[in-house]
Amino acid sequence: MKTCLVVDDSRVVRKVARRIVEDLGFKAEEAEDGVVAIEKCKESMPDAILLDWNMPNMTGIEFLRALRSESNGGTPIVIFCTTENEMSFIQEALQEGANEYIMKPFDSDIVQTKFEQTGLL
């Protein structure tokens, strides 16, 4: 079973996202910030990461840089899922190696489409 790490400082968003990715057939893991997320990735690299931008301790973009510099950190499909919907943020995310970008609010259809388009489904 493929795994998806949901990284968001909001428990509610994590819960909603977890349910969506589980419905898509993924085993879900959660992390409340980038620091916890990078530790989880070092333990076991997930297939997909649903990633918030603004989080305490380590932001989403900082996490992405850290992830992509790991030896096998290039493999997970990283999909930002954030309220930062300015073009400049999207461009920065793509530059740093994000595969897709979801602008909150989101629903299960959007997540499913992004998973399909990135080859996760």
Binding site: E86, M87, A98, E100, F106, I110, T113, Q117
Partner: protein, 275 residues
């Protein structure tokens, strides 16, 4: 607001005759919910007033009701698969059949708010080098004036662009306009929008190499579907292809088209030059 069977029949008859939409009394709730905004928009007092206008053949009222009853569910690269087949199978096959310098004509019938024809434009633009030497015409039609106005502006909400538009293509072909996203002029200029009722004669439409008519026929009864498909057959090239929705078929409806083996939703003329 409750509609009785007698009034329902007024709407059912006119909708079928004027737009091909086929509704049964079980769908009365849908009619009720969609007529309320029409009554308000036209400044009428109640359903009786609207029904009277329909009975009197009031063109504006009829147009509003048709627009209200039309489902405009669409999104960019909807279902993914047809667009992949368009790029990788159908279009290359058409190009093989036509000499360089030819114009490839594509028709999006019932294009709604434009996401389908713009998705095709983006594919053509992304593959410009591969398809060089040919001209492309994308004709996009719909029954609704309002929805065509929306399509022509090329302005989409965040929610709409997220439903199917890959982020790299969003960055490449859209500019942010407040809370909305505006498709760029080059992509917009590749699509020619116009009003067209699929029940009307297609005599002035010319011949198309590829027709997209997805998730439209499901709203028609079998007889109307057959008529529309027969008419389309007269306006598609022998080497052409017809895309229908994933849940639609020609089987049992018409013998003018046949399914392309192994390609769900893709059909070719029964007298196709090649398959």
């Amino acid at each position: 607001m409750k509609i009785n069977e007698q009034d329902f029949e007024v709407y059912r008859t006119f909708l079928y005759k004027d737009s091909g939409l086929s509704i049964t009394f079980e769908k009365a709730y849908l009619l009720e919910s969609r007529l309320s905004p029409v009554i308000k928009k036209l400044g009428l007092n109640d359903l009786d007033a609207l029904t009277s206008k329909i009975k009197m053949n009031d063109a504006a009222a009829k147009n509003e009701v048709i627009e209200a009853m039309t489902t405009n569910e669409t999104f960019f690269f909807r279902d993914t698969h047809p667009f992949e087949r368009f790029e990788k199978v159908v279009l290359p096959k058409v190009l093989e059949s036509k000499p360089a310098g030819s114009t490839i004509r594509i028709w999006c019938a019932a294009c709604s708010s434009g996401q389908e024809p713009y998705s095709l434009s983006i594919i053509l633009k992304e593959n410009a080098a591969k398809f060089a030497g040919y001209n492309f015409e994308i004709k996009a039609t719909d029954l609704s004036d309002d929805i065509l106005d929306t399509a022509r502006t090329g302005r989409y909400s965040q929610f709409e662009v997220q439903r199917g538009m890959p982020i790299t293509l969003l960055v490449k072909y859209f500019t942010q306009d407040g809370a909305n996203w505006l498709i760029n002029d080059e992509i917009k200029s590749m699509v020619n929008f116009s009003k067209f009722n699929l029940l009307d004669s297609m005599a002035t439409m010319g011949t198309f190499d590829i027709i997209f008519c997805r998730n439209v026929l499901i709203y028609f009864d079998a007889e109307t579907k057959g008529k529309v498909l027969a008419e389309m057959h007269g306006h598609i090239a022998k080497h052409g292809s017809l895309f229908l929705g994933g849940a639609e078929t020609v089987v049992g409806i018409t013998d003018k088209f046949k399914p392309l083996p192994g390609e769900r939703g893709l059909y070719v003329p029964y007298d196709a030059t090649s398959v």
